[in-house]
Symmetry: C2
Subunit: 231 residues, 2 copies
């Protein structure tokens, strides 16, 4: 079985949010699909260990924000690689409370949906939640962020707890010049490639990792330079 075949499946990139009592949480998900049109229903697979799973199970509702192709990597880092048990992901963020009382991320989002959970499938590590759409809104014109764009253009990684996680084979590449070593963030898996640099944060292509300023931080999860390991 060549698991690389699974990498050819296509997805969008979304923030799925919900609440439990006073606690709001949300997380990045790529597995949102429309499942019927009479009535309009959507489905999403969520890891059982995630706080969002706990919130969805408790409240029976969830929202989906459709991320724009221009969405900030910091937003994706906060919702994809940090845990809502440690931080308030909605602090300093543009969001609203929907008709289902679920929080809805508006920042960098083209559209949002709210759904009431009507069914689910319990799998090994994830639950597939099916929700009937009760509210839907287009927020802005633009191109939706796709999972492929996030990986190929933005250099993003897949968290281990994602439905679409695929274990990496150990790479045994050729030796490189010191200045061209790539460094991997131990927190979120982002790879700093000196050939690409980090133009979004003023680091031009060709900048060795060693030459990055001391206060440079992972553009995805905000981790400091000492959290990076040579690839």
């Amino acid at each position: 079985m060549d698991k690389n075949a699974l990498r050819t499946l296509s997805y969008g990139l979304y923030i799925v949010s919900s609440f439990k009592g006073d606690k709001m949480n949300g997380q990045i998900a790529n597995t949102v699909i429309q499942t019927t049109s009479k009535p309009y229903t959507i489905a999403v697979a969520i890891n059982k260990e995630n706080l969002t799973h706990e919130c969805m199970t408790a409240s029976g509702v969830f929202s989906v924000s459709v991320l724009s192709i221009d969405a900030a990597m910091k937003l994706i880092g906060t919702f994809g690689f940090k845990c809502g048990r440690d931080i308030d992901k909605f602090a300093d963020l543009k969001y609203k409370i929907g008709v289902t009382k679920a929080p809805i991320v508006l920042e960098d989002s083209l559209a949002c949906l709210e759904a009431k959970i009507i069914d689910k499938i319990d799998l090994s590590t994830h639950t597939i939640f099916v929700g009937e759409v009760v509210e839907a809104e287009v927020l802005a014109k633009g191109e939706p962020m796709t999972y492929a764009y996030y990986h190929n253009v933005k250099g993003g990684k897949t968290p281990q707890k994602a439905a679409s996680f695929i274990e990496e084979a150990v790479k045994a590449g050729p030796k490189k010049e010191k200045s061209m070593f790539r460094y991997v963030c131990s927190i979120c898996g982002y790879t700093y490639d000196p050939a690409t640099g980090d133009p979004g944060n003023g680091v031009p292509p060709g900048t060795p990792f060693e030459d990055l300023p001391a206060d440079w931080a992972c553009p995805i999860c905000g981790a400091s330079k000492d959290k990076f390991d040579r690839e």
Copy 2:
């Protein structure tokens, strides 16, 4: 509720195939997602009226072929807009029989997967099938066809029975010059736009529908000119 929000969800484009006794069938689907990685499972929503649904229910297995961005519209037309009860979709087609005994379309496909159904959710018009991946293969290098590309670049339409069907509002556009009228295929919904022409079949942009050769046929489903209605 603005159902246009649902149009911002992103998908790939796949052929899902299965069998029942001696009958093989397959259909276009866009809702294939990976749902867990331990074990590797995938899910797909299939319309209950479709022969593929009947085959999947009978055999308990299915295959997924990941279509290339270069996939022929005729292939998509055959598997997306024709019924396996009327024709043998696998005639004159490159395919193989997999370890699950499900047929697997190889034509215009970048990768294929085979799965044994382990669970399902019964919705109003569709069933979400969850399958454990038992075989997976990369067939070719290339870019996967996305649903957005199929719609925006290839001019493809969504069949009424698709999970992601969204009812169209009646359009009341401005009157146009005769030569610029668009014509819609009554079989599959493909729209012939004279501004675009049908370059894949030697019809240059700017060709009025009326000037198309008598033997011109719908590039998606193969319907003849008389099956087209003025928009």
